[in-house]
Structure formats: structure tokens, C-alpha cells
């Protein structure tokens, strides 16, 4: 589609006592607008999950930038992808020329509490997010030959990448021994295999593309929810059926995005993928068709997704290094992909990257896949 990314901005991801979620949003929005040359925008889409009523209005109200339509979007971990999908298609369909997309979050520490679950599910111990992650990881172990060592390698890779990212929460590398020696949260997942819910913001300015503008383009932006029947998808119902033949939302979104972009997984040069836990990144390889079903362990063993590998995944450090501020995480991926395609990613640069994909998936279920080209 003829939509350019003309400005990106971040508030670093981490812990920032005394800084409000609105403050963080303001920082990211100002940076993105400045990079784009402070264009007038006709609409804004704001992604957040835990920031309360009209959180986007509070950010733009702090900057004297209200008056335009401001749409606050919640789609779980994929909220930023949902906001960007709405904005990009509004431009592609001719509704607007310039749209601001931003997202921010300030999360409490520890296991995420979600109003998605009824009180009895919390009281009954049936609303434990990392436990669902663990069941999903165990299934990947059983069906794809993934081992705990593979999971540790994903963490080591992403933490090494994060050590080259000044906006990441964890900027120190780690070792497989340290990962496997960290506290067991829910077998087979250890503490360091799980990302930290945290704080941060990201913003992107989208504009109708001008021929020869040289900007990174949005080639596709797809959002999908789950199909009935899956008991282990991010929808986490209390019951389901044998879901072997049911495509998960990430595959639905990826297939839609590949079709929209006229590209396939073999065309990708760099991927930012959902790594809420280490197994989630590996499952994403399969769901996004970066490898065949059951092939995730092979990608790890060949180092395909390492820096310098066939298809680097999470050069930013991913959520395992950056942490996950829900509303900001997908747009943070788009910021990284934009810098990669511009060739301005510094020590994290994937040489010659011209096609990049960003993948988020979470509660709902919601899955977003964004493909950028240059």
C-alpha cells in the first residue's frame, strides 16, 4: 500500500519511577513528530491496555494537539499492531494523508492481572498467564522436538542483541547456564525465559507515500483473532477441541499480510517477533511460516535467527531484553524495523535489510503482522 513511515520515536522500555504513562507517551510522540518534520495529522490512533479512559487524549492534550479524531485501541499484546493497521488502511483508502500512531504502558511488576478473567478463575488458580505459556511450551517440546536448551539459546540470543540496544530494559548479555539456573516459574519455563511486563512508549507517523520519497513503506498490516476450538491459543478458554487443524491467529494474520504485501516468508530479511516467553518466539517461527511445522528447533540449531544468520529475529533484543509495555510493544517493533530498513540500526544493523516483519500476539486472542519494505 502507498503508506510511508516518515517519523518514529520511543520512550525507552524499562522502569521509570515518577514518570507517568502520559509523560512517556508525550516523549515518544514528540520524537516521532519531530523526525517527520512536525506535519499536521488528521487523526491519531493510540494503543494501550492498562492506561484507563481516553489515555491517548491525555497525551495529545498535553501537547495542544487535540481536535482531530483520537481513537484509543485495545487489542491485548497486539494493541499497537491494531492501531497501526487502522491508521495505515485509513491512509491507503484515502481517508487521511497523515496519521499519528502511538502506544504506551506502565505495568505493575510480576504476573499480569487481567480483567479478561472472571474472579472465580483467579481464585481457582485458572488465570495464571505463565502457566498457559508453559502448557504451550510443553506442547512445542512434545510436537517439535524443542528442548530447554533451545529455549535458553533464544534468551541468550535476545539478551545479546539487547546489550546493543540503549532503549532495552536489560542491556547485559546472559548465558544458557544462567537462564537454566534461574528460578523455575512453571515447568518448563524458568524466570529468565519470561519477559518482564514494564513501562515505555513508541510512536510512528504514517503519511501517504510520495513517489521517490525513499521512506520505509508499510506493505501490509493485518490483524486477526482466534478461530473457535483452540484451548491453548492466547484466547485461553476453559475448554476446546482437538485443534490440530485450526490455524492460530498468528498464521491467519501472517497469511493475510503476505497476501496484502505480495511477499512471502522467503522474502524477509529481518523479523521482530513476539517473545513473551522463549517458546513463544519459536512457535512464532512455525506460525509465521518461517519454517515448516516442527522446524523451529532446526532454525535455532543452525543459528538462522542469530545476527548474521539467514533471517535474524529480534535484533532489538525482543521483549525478553526490552520488556513488554503492552500498548507500546508492537510499535516498538515497527520502530526497530524502520531503523533496520533505513540502515540506521547501528551495532544491531542487519546488513542489506529491505523487507521486515513485525509480529505481536496476545490476549483476545489478537495477532498482528506488519510487513515493511524499502
Amino acid at each position: 500500500m502507498d503508506v510511508s513511515i516518515t517519523g518514529v520515536g520511543l520512550h525507552p522500555f524499562g522502569r521509570f519511577d515518577g514518570v507517568t504513562v502520559t509523560d512517556m507517551g508525550v516523549t515518544a510522540v514528540q520524537a516521532a513528530l519531530a523526525e517527520a518534520g512536525n506535519p499536521q495529522f488528521q487523526a491519531a490512533f493510540c494503543a494501550s491496555v492498562y492506561s484507563g479512559v481516553a489515555s491517548g487524549h491525555k497525551v495529545l492534550g498535553s501537547l495542544g494537539l487535540t481536535g482531530v479524531p483520537i481513537v484509543n485501541v485495545e487489542a491485548g499484546c497486539a494493541s499497537g499492531g491494531a492501531a497501526l493497521m487502522l491508521a495505515a488502511h485509513a491512509i491507503a483508502n484515502g481517508q487521511y494523508d497523515t496519521v499519528l500512531v502511538f502506544g504506551m504502558e506502565k505495568m505493575p511488576k510480576g504476573i499480569i492481572r487481567s480483567s479478561f478473567f472472571e474472579p472465580w478463575r483467579e481464585q481457582g488458580g485458572l488465570a495464571v498467564t505463565p502457566a498457559y505459556f508453559a502448557l504451550r511450551a510443553q506442547r512445542l517440546v512434545r510436537e517439535s522436538g524443542v528442548t530447554k536448551e533451545h529455549l535458553a539459546r533464544v534468551v541468550v540470543k535476545n539478551r545479546a542483541n539487547g546489550a546493543r540496544n540503549p532503549n532495552a530494559m536489560y542491556q547485559t548479555p546472559t548465558t544458557a547456564d544462567a537462564v537454566l539456573g534461574s528460578r523455575l516459574v512453571c515447568e518448563p519455563l524458568h524466570l529468565h525465559m519470561l519477559c518482564s511486563p514494564n513501562e515505555g512508549a513508541a510512536a510512528v507517523v504514517l503519511q501517504k507515500a510520495r513517489p521517490g520519497d525513499g521512506a520505509v513503506r508499510i506493505a501490509a498490516a493485518a490483524l486477526r483473532s482466534h478461530l473457535p476450538g483452540s484451548v491453548l491459543g492466547e484466547a485461553t478458554p476453559m475448554s476446546g477441541i482437538d485443534d490440530t487443524g485450526i490455524d492460530p491467529p498468528s498464521t491467519l494474520a501472517a497469511d493475510a499480510a503476505y497476501a496484502e504485501a505480495g511477499l512471502g516468508p522467503a522474502d524477509l530479511h529481518v523479523v521482530e517477533g513476539q517473545d513473551t516467553d522463549a517458546a513463544r518466539e519459536l512457535l512464532g517461527y512455525e506460525e509465521l511460516r518461517l519454517c515448516e511445522r516442527g522446524g523451529a528447533a532446526g532454525l535455532v540449531e543452525r543459528g538462522d535467527t542469530e545476527p548474521g544468520g539467514r533471517l535474524p529475529v529480534n535484533p532489538s533484543g525482543g521483549l525478553l531484553a526490552k520488556g513488554e509495555p503492552l500498548g507500546a510493544s508492537a510499535l516498538g517493533q515497527v520502530v526497530e524495523i524502520t531503523q533496520q530498513l533505513r540502515g540506521t540500526a547501528g551495532p544491531r544493523q542487519v546488513d542489506g535489510a529491505r523487507v521486515g516483519l513485525a509480529h505481536t500476539v496476545g490476549r483476545g486472542a489478537n495477532a498482528a503482522v506488519i510487513i515493511c519494505t524499502r
Binding site: 510480576g110 504476573i111 492481572r113 472472571e118 474472579p119 472465580w120 483467579e122 481464585q123 481457582g124 488458580g125 485458572l126 488465570a127 495464571v128 505463565p130 502457566a131 508453559a134 502448557l135 510443553q138 506442547r139 512434545r142 528460578r183 523455575l184 516459574v185 512453571c186 515447568e187 518448563p188 519455563l189 473457535p228 476450538g229 484451548v231 491453548l232 485461553t236 478458554p237 476453559m238 475448554s239 476446546g240 477441541i241 482437538d242
Partner: protein, 139 residues
């Protein structure tokens, strides 16, 4: 069961006269599909022809882990077992497990439904939840 018990929530399961419990699901005549807990409409087709059905009390273990960190809103024992059991009719149900040691369980092993003590309220009322235990093990 004494009157000093209460169930985790209404409509999820019921006690039988002999003290055993059974899960209450829904089944749609038009889709032929079963779900749990019972909803007003079939979650696969939206059909409104949902009738109450008592679900099989036995099945096979399909997924399991143990929760070692106290999650928000939960006041019961730690660690506790958590997993998915594939009931004899093919429906996979999310459940508490009576075994909190993942190494002691294996894929596909026969499981049976039991009532499990979740917590004791301040007034002494015992809160019961449903759980699955290895078939043959004591509740």
C-alpha cells in the same frame, strides 16, 4: 459433604449425593459440540440450542505444569498443579491438578475428576474446586 463447604462458583460443577462431583457443560443439538462451562449459545456456531450436559469424569492428561509463584487473586496452596485433560468425549478442559510435581506425570495418562480443597475462608468455610487426579490415586 457438610454445609461448611462452598463451591468455587455456581454452575461449574455439582456435588452428587455420594460426595463425588461432576462438571456441568453445555451441548448444542445442532452442532453436536460440547463446551465447558455451559454458555447461553454454542461457542462454535452461535446456535441457541444449548442444553446442560454432565461431562465425562475421566480422561487423559494432555498438558501439565505446576504454578510456583502466587498469582494475583489466588489464596490457595503453592505450588499447585495445572493442566489440560482430554475427556473421554474428546473435549479438552483446563483444570487444576492434584499433582504439583510435573516429573510425576506423563502425557496421556488416565485421569479422573475429584473435588479438591482450594482454601478455607475466614469463617471456616472450605472452598471446593474441581481438579483431576491420576486415575487410581486417592483423592
Amino acid at each position: 459433604m457438610s454445609t461448611a463447604n462452598r463451591l468455587l462458583t455456581d454452575g461449574l460443577f455439582r456435588e452428587r449425593p455420594d460426595g463425588s462431583i461432576v462438571l456441568i457443560g453445555g451441548v448444542s443439538a445442532s452442532s453436536g459440540r460440547t463446551h465447558f462451562p455451559r454458555l447461553a449459545a454454542c461457542p462454535y456456531t452461535g446456535a441457541a440450542d444449548v442444553e446442560e450436559v454432565e461431562l465425562p469424569t475421566t480422561g487423559n492428561l494432555w498438558g501439565w505444569t505446576a504454578v510456583t509463584t502466587r498469582p494475583p487473586g489466588y489464596d490457595g496452596e503453592l505450588p499447585f498443579g495445572f493442566g489440560v485433560v482430554e475427556l473421554d468425549d474428546g473435549l479438552r478442559v483446563v483444570t487444576r491438578l492434584t499433582v504439583a510435581d510435573p516429573a510425576a506425570l506423563e502425557f496421556g495418562q488416565p485421569m479422573r475428576l475429584v473435588a479438591d480443597r482450594l482454601q478455607t475462608d475466614d469463617d471456616g468455610t472450605v472452598v471446593l474446586t474441581y481438579a483431576f487426579a491420576p486415575a487410581g490415586a486417592d483423592a
